[in-house]
């Protein structure tokens, strides 16, 4: 039943959009027609004042006639589509209930609400991530959710088409932030900050194809940690890898690997394989697809779409299947083709140092030097990395509630791969500085939405319900007429810092109150009754054991604290 309703609502939405488009198209033509008829002066408006469109005229007005015909047709089409829309709406109001809402009740495509359960899970994840960021000395910053459009222009390559623009309502032209990296670069350049270790947890916006069960949204959280400043090679870079591993460990999300590579090595490798220098970036973005597509497809893209020489593609194919550790660096440093290319050698030496530091950080089994890792964004200039869940850990459950699947792509397997990514970008800040002064940066972004998906799926599978409030004590009435007494006790508890609540009914039934506590996993109940109150006492009841003790009112807060400490 409700599915059918959902479908009709969706149809109404689509139909409504169509009608709006038709009307808008008509209006814009009319506006231009006004421009056109106005300067052409007298003779076209009849003496009766009827609009020119209604009149038949000769030769030079042939187009006029055609235009009128077109307008009539257009009006007819709009009428027809409006009728269809009204018909759809009528199917909904079946039982003649008054409908005061004329649109589908939903969140925008690719977005979702977080209810208390999801928020509890989300807050838990974010708290753990912040703990790691702070353990490494991170300072928090925040920037506006939108930027001047120019700030974002030219930073994302092909992905720029996914940027949300704001309507021009007079004043500045604005766009929603696409990531937290470009705003950071703008912030550093604007405030002339040459070194900072900052974290930033905030939502970003991409008009992408959502796949919500996989944690791919149009509005989603990013958790970024970046180290800006001129430092010695690989020391900040290795710490970012360490941070990723600490976060994935603390979230206990399952087995993972952190893939490492180096943009300089990639460029050197392309050069060694005979790729022309001006094709490095486009070939690089083809390589980036290797995590989703087989080599044969990627090779086809390189050769057929990007015009790469077949032999060059095959040489790339040899390299990108390699992955390993320090021994692979040595092997490649000895590679005849690579060692002739300075960029390749520099990249390899960087990798050698990075792997050594990772080894000191105890990450030998967590990192993998992987020549197929390329990453999409243009702005990386050095180390790049990606944290990927392995096997089982990457699986998320079958679709969650329908109401949360706005605009979901169908038929996608519900697995998440990459849950963290980042790299070095030494030139981005310089793009904002009026004198081009560069501030080298390296950073990492945690893909928390995917992590939420995995953890939500796991929670759903276990059937476990998270507590969504922290209430420690419920204040209940044993009989009628005690609501003011309840308020007094509550006030005493709140002032002592105890988390407490009660029924907002004057005379709730005791059973209902006790059930509320069981449902909401509230550990303690204070039960008020005239008999006890007359002696300055209240009953304190443990919800799980149902044990009850009389406690003096003035000792109540302290007694509750004592119980909490002993049960903690």
């Amino acid at each position: 039943m409700s599915d059918t309703r959902e479908q009709i609502l969706e149809q109404i939405k689509v139909q409504g959009d169509l009608v709006r488009q038709l009307k808008a198209a008509k209006e814009s033509k009319e506006k231009c027609a006004t421009f056109q008829t106005a300067p052409s002066g007298g003779g076209r408006v009849s003496s009766s004042g009827a609009p020119a469109q209604r009149q038949q005229q000769q030769q030079p007005q042939k187009q006029q006639q055609a235009q009128e015909q077109q307008q009539h047709e257009q009006l007819h089409q709009i009428d027809e589509e409006v009728a269809r829309l009204l018909a759809l709406k009528a199917t909904l109001g079946g039982d003649a209930a008054p409908t005061n809402q004329k649109f589908t009740l939903k969140t925008p495509k690719g977005t979702r609400d977080y209810g208390p359960q999801q928020m509890t899970l989300r807050q838990g994840v974010l708290d753990k991530i912040v703990q790691v960021f702070k353990r490494h000395g991170g300072e928090a910053i925040d920037t506006p959710v939108f930027e001047l459009k120019e700030v974002l222009t030219g930073k994302y390559g092909e992905d720029s088409k996914l940027i949300y623009d704001l309507k021009d309502q007079g004043g500045e032209i604005l766009s929603m932030r696409y990531d937290l990296t470009v705003p950071l670069a703008r912030y550093l350049a604007m405030n002339k900050i040459s070194s900072i270790k900052r974290y930033h947890i905030a939502k970003v916006y991409r008009r992408d194809n959502p796949a919500m069960t996989k944690g791919r949204y149009r509005e989603f959280y990013q958790c970024d940690f970046d180290i800006a400043g001129t430092y010695d090679p690989m020391l900040p870079d290795a710490e970012c890898v360490k941070i990723v591993s600490e976060i994935l460990d603390t979230l206990d999300i399952g087995d993972y690997v952190i893939k490492l590579n180096h943009r300089q090595l990639l460029d050197g490798m392309f050069q060694a394989c005979g790729v022309p220098a001006d094709s490095f970036r486009t070939i690089c973005s083809a390589v980036d697809k290797l995590d989703k597509s087989p080599w044969a497809d990627v090779r086809k893209e390189m050769v057929d779409e990007k015009g790469l020489d077949e032999a060059a593609a095959d040489r790339i194919g040899e390299y990108v299947r390699l992955s390993g550790g320090a021994e692979l660096v040595e092997q490649l440093l000895a590679d005849e083709k690579l060692k002739a290319v300075p960029n390749a050698v520099k990249g390899l030496e960087g990798m050698k140092q990075l792997l050594k530091y990772c080894s000191i950080f105890g990450l030998d089994k967590r990192v993998s030097f992987d020549l197929s890792l390329a990453r999409g964004l243009d702005y990386y200039t050095g180390v790049i990395y990606e944290g990927v869940l392995k096997g089982e850990s990457a699986t998320v459950a079958s679709p969650a509630k329908t109401s949360q699947q706005n605009g979901e792509q169908a038929n996608e397997p519900a697995t998440v791969g990459s849950v963290a990514g980042g790299g070095r970008y030494d030139n981005l800040v310089g793009m904002f500085d009026p004198r081009g002064k560069a501030v080298p940066c390296v950073g990492v972004s945690i893909g928390v939405e995917r992590i939420f998906s995995v953890l939500e799926a796991r929670a759903a599978a276990s059937g476990l319900k998270l507590r969504t409030s922290d209430v420690e004590v419920y204040v209940a009435s044993a009989h009628k007429g005690l609501h003011e007494q309840r308020l007094k006790v509550l006030n005493l508890l709140w002032d002592a810092g105890v988390k407490a609540e009660h029924s907002y009914k004057l005379n709730p039934k005791l059973l209902v109150q006790l059930q509320h506590c069981e449902e909401h996993q509230i550990p303690l109940v204070v039960v008020l009754g005239d008999a006890e109150l007359a002696q300055g006492l209240v009953k304190l009841r443990e919800v799980t054991t149902r044990e009850e003790t009389n406690v003096k009112l003035e000792d109540l807060a302290a007694e509750i604290r004592r119980r909490q400490q002993s049960s903690a």
Copy 2:
């Protein structure tokens, strides 16, 4: 110097906007001209293929000629303005440095970045607020930053013009949320939730005139707590007042008063004064201005602009100067005019009950029943309240850093008044429900931006610098060649959960490292040296006392924990 630069950058911005507008205007005319010339067919394009505009033609083309003239003038104007823009830019690039950024580096008008200092302050405030919300059993929810435009339509009255719309990029028509109340109502109706106690802390967006030193922004945080559900009168309402007082107390922001009033009483009062029923809302929004304007101005607005009878206005004037406590309720219940109006009596009886509960909550000295309180938004149906800072507490400092004052209104006195507000809105959820099913709600919103302003001003005046990172230990090298040892010690500390950092230089000077600790108020330093390391020892130094002790490497983390606990 930098001021002049700022000014020029601002001029460039303005000039740039002008040029863009001119170009846009020209383009839109050309587009229409294309529509116009296309259907008119041959004869207008010369055989040489030159565009029609360049040709002189007779009679029916007179307009054509005028149009050409206009276009020429327009082009000339654009050229002139572009030249002016380039000249402005040239004044900046004085020393011939290459400029790779062609726009002013700023955040959008009415928005600001939060640097580490501001974030530390902000996080402290938000944490305290959340603590209060949780003490009252609040559950968190979150909603998308934008909604379908239709969700916001018709909810804000006159203020709707301040809503930010997104550009139509195909698909749904979206707007940025204006508050957190309408999204809550949408959420409740969409998920058929009939009772919840929820809090929501998030940014909202209003294209208002910013006054940033007073904490009035276009992007700003709201901290809302709302109780939805069908309950007995004034029990949830009184708890909201209690929550406001707990928050203002815990933030220690100075003396304040919570003004209380009731929409039903206001309506009853208007009726008793002879205001026609269809003018209640507009007269109410005039009364709302009494916190900023004297009665004389408000009276003028009622009489001159809103056509109210002078005698009626004077009768209102008698009432709105009244404020007090329970005794005022009694006085008004005995008022001849009011007691004849059922709405007034109902409102007064509600106030009586509310004041009684507030008294039980120990708020007698904090609340004031104030008949001049009206509140702007249309959707309130019952109790309304507003927390206001008194005297000194309301003053904020003179302007902060210039870079943070985008689009500031000049000449406004830097005081903040209202820091919390809310009320009961019983019909809003019903506006979203397809069957109009109502969910009564009451809630409060904390104006944290104003609170930040006051606290920032206070911090600036005291000269106190907040610590912006939590680093407990700095790991330093006493001499060269120890960077790998540092990484080993850091790894040990991180794995033990200690917040630690080091220099990202291979061989930093010891003095520089120690200075870093003093500047950043890091309490402890681990100093590594070959002599100690050979014995499995490191030096642990207290930064303030400069006391040093040798500690075994394997005891280091435990020793640090021990010191923290004793200093806490």
